[in-house]
Amino acid sequence: MDNYRELTIDSIREGLKNKRFSARELAQEGLRTARAENASSGVFLSFCEEKALRDAGAVDRKLAVGEEVGALAGVPTAVKDVIMTEGLKTTCASRMLENYVASYSATAVKAIEAAGAVIVGKTNCDEFAMGSSNENSAFYPVRNPAAPDRVPGGSSGGSAAAVAAGHTPIALGSDTGGSIRQPASFCGTVGVMPTYGRVSRFGLVAFASSLDHIGPFSRTVKDSATLLGAIAGRDPNDSTSAAVPAPDYAAALQADVAGLRVGVPKEYFAEGLQAEVGAKIEAGIEKLQSLGCEIVAVSLPHTEYAVAGYYLICTAEASSNLARYDGARYSRRSERSETLADMYRNSRAEGFGAEVTRRIILGTYVLSAGYYDAYYRKAQQVRALIARDFASAFEKVDAIVGPVSPFPAFKIGEKAGDPLQMYLADIYTITASLAGIAGMSVPCGKSSEGLPIGMQILTNHFREQTMFNLGHSFEQAGGFCG
């Protein structure tokens, strides 16, 4: 299949209909390219060939008898390994869950399977989704398809790289502080963090429950719109999934964005933003202006406090969520488990990597007696101020546009030794995570070294349609090429 790596959901639907290929052939091709490159790329942690061929065969049989098929019929799909897939290993890229086989599927996984998607494998990521470079995987790092000596970003680095390298046209990832948008930016794909509660978190292994999201990766904006449409909606298994109807984003997609007001926050173009990245984003904003958008200067005055607030809230929630790994029920147990207390302490010390341990310790500290008010409560108050910043900005504008990351993909190992510097790089993505609004990274050109740069489009709660329309019109106007 000579054009497999360029396929989209639409061209797959077309090709299946015209019998240019079968769903089985697509799955085989996806598995073949991914497998052939995995020893050097590190993109996948496991493949599920048997299941993929079975699911693809079911799509082919339906098509053969003219039965109705779903929006994702036959589309090879990669799923981040923090998302539960019944009967398949779900390791969270952690030694702790090295042999864990999921006993149920996430609601989002059930939804894409019901729509006909064919899951081919589980993608590598930072351990328990904690990291911005994929270097915290307990197994092996992922290499950026655009530059193999560089990181793909994180934590959903494997899902971003799977799509960027053309192994699958779409993938599911998770975003807590930027873990979809930042790797999408580093790898040159589209990546979407939907509004908090838009997609059920049931079956997403919990890291920070008030910040975790499942969301799509794809090469085109339309494909992300289709994928989000398939997974969005209320789920009784997640009390924080929103009671708001999910529209058909792809069907409603339109390229006319004339008259939309696009906010540019001055705080996102301050010190620390690499000049070359800033120039590409400025050019992207000009492109939106040429499409008829009205560009409006806005201010998000509490931006500089976001990283501090975020790392208190996410570590506190992580320390609580990760208490479940006790060596008794589904995680690995240490050989040194003479007593119950030894079993807990040694299993956890041996199972968790350094970054996860660091966050559990920090989170336990900020929740401990005497510190709760000074840290956790304070951080939640600052979170309220950041949410208020966005609420006032969205009174004036329909969307906010800026960079995703201060710099393009860095070299593997370059920042690994300094956790605080790594956290500070999340500045532009963390604010939207705290406010719970929607965000997307779209490619907007490359650096002089050929590294992809992503532009971030943010919209208010449940306004994904506006975000997709802007991204789609930007793409149609050639914006992805800078």
Binding site: N99, Y100, V101, S103, Y104, T195, Y196, G197, S210, P236, S239, T240, A242, A243, V244, E304, Y305, V307, A308, G309, Y311, A323, D326, A328, R329, Y330, R332, R333, S337, E338, L340, A341, D342, M343, R345, R348, A349, F352, T357, R358, I360, I361, L362, T364, Y365, R377, K378, A379, Q380, Q381, V382, R383, A384, L385, P419, L420, Y423, G436, H461, F462
Partner: protein, 99 residues
Amino acid sequence: MKITEKEVRYIAGLANLSLSDDDIRRYAADMEQILEYVDKLNELDTSTVEPMVQVLSAAGGADTLREDALGASYAADKALQSAPLSGAGHFKVPRVIER
């Protein structure tokens, strides 16, 4: 703010993590650096700000309470399938009570 190794050891105990002395030293240094940075939140007067404990209440869509009805649940063998040690339909752990 000075974070002592003793404090990290105490916190590691609360979190059920047995750490080596090297680890304790490393995490004490990391914590100190991170908490020093986090101190910048104290530049903000938040005495009148309600903490944001819930995302959807501001956004709408939080009306998600349902009937407390009994639903389907796992069979024991499924819940036990990834247990490191199990038997007779239970998780097995080291002896807790001496006979």
